[in-house]
């Protein structure tokens, strides 16, 4: 196996709501308040090979966006290490650090909030390359035109503000902004979820074209299984901060192993399923503030055993090499 482009090892991200002075005093006086900690991401391992598209699927609150932001360098991990081209990002300094920062860019969900409303398109796209000296000031204008054309935007519109564009075009501006610093890796966080159906296809095609043309690697975060099935080589399924199953796209869609993956696949609406009679899985995603003991999925799992309530399953290969975090798969559920 070649060296992964990006690898995270045992990365956790906790958000702690600290008590203020009043809270601390109240606690001294015996009030029942405590610091609340959310384990948004809990000891996740993920290695992404150059040129690969990895789909990260999960429902809201599962930590997939937080994981994406840790990979993109927006959030610092609470624990664990992240490697870029085999080097621990935390140890990088100076030019190396900058190179690693610029190599990983993010495409956001909200085409409105992700663009600075006070800046012109040419500044949104051109600011970072100018600041980092990627192009000279003299060449900047042509460079911006070039990037805009690459994402299917008319360069003659570059003096406009973001709000003068439609949602799909704004998303292209966001993609152009990322491409302008010549990244190798894009983290797409629900990048098409806010777009109209007819525009989604255009942006997915753009991602696939860019992958081919620029040799980009993607972490494609989405709740939409059909999109991930279409674009990803490998899929990781997240539930309450942990990856519960990881496999090639073919394997996961043909033969899902984890009961949660099976439920997701069964319940995603599909065009070829009509007025069906089925019983969806019960219950809701538990609060990450107070996750259930053992396997966090056990309260909703129809196959849960006594062991599932006690033992936290690790993500590991079963007898046939498939990666799941399920005691039943590992034959440990006694």
């Amino acid at each position: 196996m070649t060296e992964p482009l990006v690898e995270i090892r045992n990365v956790s991200k906790r958000f702690t709501k600290r008590l203020d002075v009043a809270g601390k005093i109240a606690r001294r006086l015996g009030a029942n308040i405590r610091e609340e900690t959310v384990h948004a991401v809990d000891k996740v391992l993920l290695a992404i090979q150059p040129g690969e598209v990895v789909g990260l699927v999960g429902e809201s609150g599962c930590g997939k966006s937080t994981l994406g932001r840790v990979v993109a360098g927006i959030h610092a991990a609470s624990d664990g290490q992240m490697f870029y081209e085999g080097r621990d990002v935390a140890t990088l300094r100076g030019a190396d650090r900058r190179a690693a920062t610029l190599a990983i860019q993010m495409i956001f969900q909200d085409p409105f909030a992700s663009l600075n409303p006070r800046m012109r398109v040419e500044d949104i796209i051109g600011e970072a390359p100018r600041m980092h000296g990627i192009v000279s000031t003299a060449e900047l204008s042509d460079y911006v035109d070039d990037v805009m054309q690459k994402v299917g935007l008319d360069p003659s519109l570059k003096r406009r503000y973001a709000h003068q564009f439609s949602g799909g075009q704004r998303q292209r501006i966001g993609i152009a902004r990322a491409l302008a610093v010549k990244p190798k890796f894009l983290v797409c966080d629900e990048a098409i979820a806010a777009l109209d159906v007819s525009i989604q296809a255009q942006v997915i095609n753009l991602f696939m074209d860019l992958r081919e043309e620029l040799g980009l690697t993607y972490l494609f975060i989405s709740h939409d299984l059909s999109v991930v099935e279409h674009i990803a080589d490998r899929v990781a399924i997240m539930y309450l901060g942990r990856i519960v199953e990881s496999a090639s796209t073919e394997e996961i869609f043909a033969d899902p192993r984890h009961p949660y993956t099976q439920a997701l696949l069964a319940e995603a609406p599909r065009l070829d399923q009509r007025r069906r009679d089925f019983t969806p899985i019960k219950g809701e995603i538990p609060s990450p503030l107070d996750p259930p003991p053992g396997c966090t999925f056990h309260p909703r799992c129809v196959r849960a055993t006594e062991a599932c309530r006690r033992i936290v399953p690790e993500l590991k290969a079963g007898p046939d090499g498939r990666q799941t975090a399920c005691l039943l798969e590992h034959g440990d559920a006694v």
């Binding site: 007819s198 255009q202 609406p269």
Partner: protein, 325 residues
């Protein structure tokens, strides 16, 4: 089947500073008892405004300029607010994307549900409470007695939407308008809500208009589908017909651009261009500029025609041969 709701020639326009937005511009459809009609469209297609028009919730600068909305035979398009208030929450209910649009954040669930019953019916509070409890049980809320004492903010998003649905069905309405009720919810929760909604319409015989942008959701839910584009219904027919043999190039494009309809890893079929600017609609067919089948005829506005069990607005329907004759 008798039509509970019959919308004909509905036009709702907004008179804004930038010009007249013809958000709904000649919409006809009807829904029968126990039937679910899926109203599908992208942003700006007028699908939500159609729903709001039926509910009488159009505020200035918008108003219904033309057309009839017959509810159980009575035209409510220009009905007084008093009459509409008497119908809403009683004979016509609504479910929104954000359940907090119908739930009051400072009142307990039981207060709100009991009031919803007492506002339209003379029963004692005990009966109203029991009916509220049963309604919550019916939408799959565990331990409904306990939930009745909760405030909306104490419930999760999916739970709140269930409460909103239970409230909508409390008085066994003849018609429910559901506007993107599952869009903000997760896949597993969405599946639960769709399941409950289906069960309820069967159980109560309520007619339902389910407004959404997601074809896959209505494919699994609706009896009939209306596809809207730029304020008009461009194609209307039985779900199986529309999904399996779409005729309008826009419907064809929408269905074709869904990833699962394409070969994995290949470029997706894509509709060119952008969703239309409602202030600068082209003359003739609004979909014309984005349409691959465009001919000279498309410079005129296509009328609604009955084609192959479908109501269609198109001069050049696609794949007529394969469709049901």
């Amino acid at each position: 089947m008798t039509a509970v709701l019959e919308v004909s020639g509905l036009k709702t326009h907004f008179f804004t500073r930038g010009g007249v937005v013809k958000a709904v511009d000649g919409v006809d459809f009807s829904v029968a008892r126990g039937e679910i009609m899926g109203l599908v469209g992208e942003s700006g297609s007028g699908k939500s405004i159609t729903g709001f028009s039926i509910l009488g919730l159009i505020d200035p600068p918008g108003r219904i300029v033309e057309g009839a909305i017959r509810f159980n035979g009575e035209d409510i398009a220009q009905a007084s607010q008093q009459r509409l208030a008497g119908l809403r929450g009683n004979r016509i209910s609504m479910i929104f994307q954000d359940p907090m649009m119908t739930l009051n954040p400072v009142l307990r669930i039981d207060t709100q549900m009991i009031e919803a019953i007492l506002a339209h019916e003379k029963v004692d509070r005990r009966t109203a409470w029991e009916r509220s409890r049963d309604a919550l049980g019916l939408v799959g809320i565990p331990s409904p007695e306990e939930r009745l004492r909760a405030y909306p903010h104490q419930l999760s998003g999916g739970m709140r939407q269930r409460v909103a649905i239970a409230t909508a069905f409390l008085n066994k309405p003849d018609l429910v308008i559901a506007d993107e009720p599952t869009t903000a919810l997760d896949v597993t929760i969405q599946a639960q809500i769709i399941y409950e909604a289906q069960k309820l319409t069967k159980h109560t015989g309520t007619a339902m208009v389910w407004i959404t942008h997601d074809l896959a959701v209505v494919a699994g839910l609706a009896d009939r589908i209306s596809v809207m584009y730029a304020g008009r219904i461009v194609e209307q027919g039985d779900t199986d017909d529309v999904i399996d043999h779409p005729l309008h190039p826009y419907t064809v494009g929408l269905l074709g651009s869904v990833p699962s309809a394409n070969k994995r890893g290949a470029r997706l079929y894509q509709i060119e261009g952008m969703t239309p600017n409602m202030l600068a609609l082209p003359d003739g067919c609004a979909f014309g500029p984005r349409c691959g089948m465009r001919t000279a005829a498309c410079a005129a506005q296509p009328d609604v025609e009955d084609v192959a069990e479908r109501r269609l607005r198109c001069f050049n329907p696609q794949g007529l041969a394969e469709a049901r004759p």
